[in-house]
């Protein structure tokens, strides 16, 4: 009885996959990481530094209020309020992201980038949103098997069980995030009643929609709200079926766009999109070439 389960488990997590497939997902995650770092670069002086809103003293108060141990939020960025350190940190992150995207430095580059991202995320304190956990997790999965460098054309074609594991981890996490989102949405009557998009706009959290746009359009409000739920369920379902995976990816991309433009989660949408690229099926070219 256990044997088929173990075989299926091994087949699911460790089935060899071409490293080239990892290259696509890695590029997507790195682009998302780069955008995240650039977004910080633009706002560093507002939040941090001697004249920043989130001085280390204020951020430490936030942490103390939550009752968290300081060691859990480890980061060298707690040591000083000097703006140059933050700039150097983000600059280092950008360089490391470029290295990881190019496949230079292997696991060392990926792990250093993870430390860099976590260091900044821990210092952000209450600014942490859905972007940071997803980004750190995705980078962590790339550390399992970073994949080939951009110039290593031969190793791109090789199948490797760790490349398969890395892709499976990315796929599973993306799937869980979408599933968790739709499940928690359906915990509220707003989503069942079809006016959740109204409340998103009312909170000033929609890039495209304003209350003035929606106030005379009840059907639009209902259609968008119900459509968002249907879109997520369809994405989750179709991603699981091999023959419909491309449609699932397309719907997943649409969901990322919805997150970015309707729900004001542009960076989260980008990170999710990067992870979604792990579903892109790529056929191995070497078999046909060698045959």
């Amino acid at each position: 009885m256990m044997r088929p389960i173990l075989e299926d488990w091994q087949d699911f997590w460790f089935k060899p996959k071409p490293a080239r497939q990892l290259l696509v997902a890695r590029t997507g995650v790195c682009i998302a990481c780069l955008l995240w770092l650039i977004s910080w670069w633009m706002e560093l002086s507002f939040w941090f530094g001697d004249n920043g809103v989130l001085s280390s003293e204020v951020a430490a108060q936030f942490v103390a209020y939550e009752g968290l141990s300081r060691w859990q939020l480890w980061s060298p960025l707690w040591w000083t309020d000097s703006l140059w350190l933050f700039q150097a940190w983000v600059g280092l992150g950008v360089v490391l992201t470029a290295l990881v995207a190019a496949g230079i430095g292997g696991r060392f580059s990926v792990l250093t980038l993870i430390l860099c991202v976590i260091g900044l995320a821990h210092r952000m304190s209450w600014l942490i949103g859905p972007v940071e956990p997803a980004l750190v997790a995705f980078l962590g999965y790339l550390a399992v098997k970073p994949g080939p460098g951009i110039q290593e054309s031969e190793s791109r074609e090789q199948e490797c069980s760790w490349a398969g594991a890395s892709l499976r981890l990315l796929q599973t996490h993306v799937w869980i995030l979408i599933a968790a989102g739709v499940m928690t949405q359906l915990a509220s009557v707003r989503w069942w009643r079809g006016d959740a998009i109204w409340w998103l706009a009312a909170a000033g959290r929609s890039n495209l929609l304003t209350l003035e746009h929606l106030v005379d359009r009840a059907y639009l409000v209902n259609a968008l709200t119900h459509g968002m739920i249907v879109l997520q369920f369809l994405t989750l379902w179709l991603l699981l079926i091999r023959s419909t995976r491309w449609i699932g990816i397309g719907l997943g991309v649409t969901w990322c766009l919805v997150l970015a433009f309707l729900a004001d989660y542009a960076l989260y949408g980008t990170v999710l999109l990067g992870g979604l690229l792990a579903f892109v099926p790529i056929r191995q070219a070497s078999h046909s070439a060698s045959e």
Binding site: W13, W126, P133, S188, W198
Partner: protein
């Protein structure tokens, strides 16, 4: 040709080659290496913690609270804690609406809103997110010292650019639902900011030119009657000495 490419592959993959199931390693398909067994255990533990973290995002049962306290070192130190992050996007509850911060300058009769200086819309979400968290804290504990500390810092930062800030306040936006908004729109009324009420207000205490603290002042400064219980709106922050 195929043999040549296969032998080349064996040379270049090294240790990973051993982990390729079935054909190339010569192992039975069901046999997992120790690395794979260890990795499988790590997968189960990791996704279990993620599952608990995401499942505890809305409301926590006692079991979830207990589990989260155990898992917190792993989740927080690896930035996997979801805390109050609204993964549901919105539930239309009070805490889903970011509170608004406003300041008053000497000689100016009008309150002005403080916003993030972000250049792009994408990055501006950080400010509303912080204001949403601040709103949750105020609902949870209106007299939390951290509120006064944060506002004090904000006033000092604002003073460097704006000069002569005399007071600061936190507004709880009270939004209209769809039906109320439709009636308001038909009557030509504003849809936003009509029933906002003051959660917290403090005047800036100065010693010479230097700002030394905030002096909270609540009820008499309310801009409109709150439609919430007194305990919810009786905010307070400690003045910084």
């Amino acid at each position: 040709m195929a043999k040549k490419s296969e032998s080349k592959r064996k040379d270049s993959t090294g240790a990973d080659e051993l982990l390729v199931a079935g054909k190339t390693s010569g192992r039975p398909k069901s046999g997992m290496s120790w690395r794979q067994i260890f990795f499988s255990c790590a997968i189960i533990l990791h996704f279990s913690t993620i599952f608990v973290a995401l499942g505890s995002n809305l409301i926590q049962s006692r079991l979830q609270q207990s589990l989260m306290s155990w898992l917190s070192p792993y989740l927080i130190s690896t930035a996997q804690g979801y805390g109050t992050t609204p993964i549901e996007l919105t539930h239309g509850e009070d805490f889903d609406f970011p509170v608004q911060l406003e300041y008053l300058q000497q000689g100016a009769g009008k309150w002005r809103r403080i916003n993030s200086h972000g250049l792009s819309r994408a990055t501006q979400t950080r400010w509303p997110h912080l204001m949403r968290t601040l709103g949750i804290v105020m609902q949870d504990d209106p007299e939390a010292e951290v509120i006064g500390e944060f506002l004090f810092r904000l006033v000092i930062v604002a003073e460097s650019e704006l000069k002569n800030v005399t007071a600061v306040r936190i507004l709880q936006p009270d939004r209209l639902n769809f039906d109320e908004a439709k009636i308001a729109a038909e009557g030509g009324e504003e849809l936003v900011g009509v029933k906002d009420f003051v959660l917290y207000q403090a005047s800036v205490v100065r010693k010479g030119d230097a700002i030394v603290g905030l002096n909270p002042s609540q009820e008499r400064y309310r801009s409109s009657a709150p439609d919430k219980p007194e305990s919810d709106t009786n905010a307070g922050g400690k003045a910084k000495e």
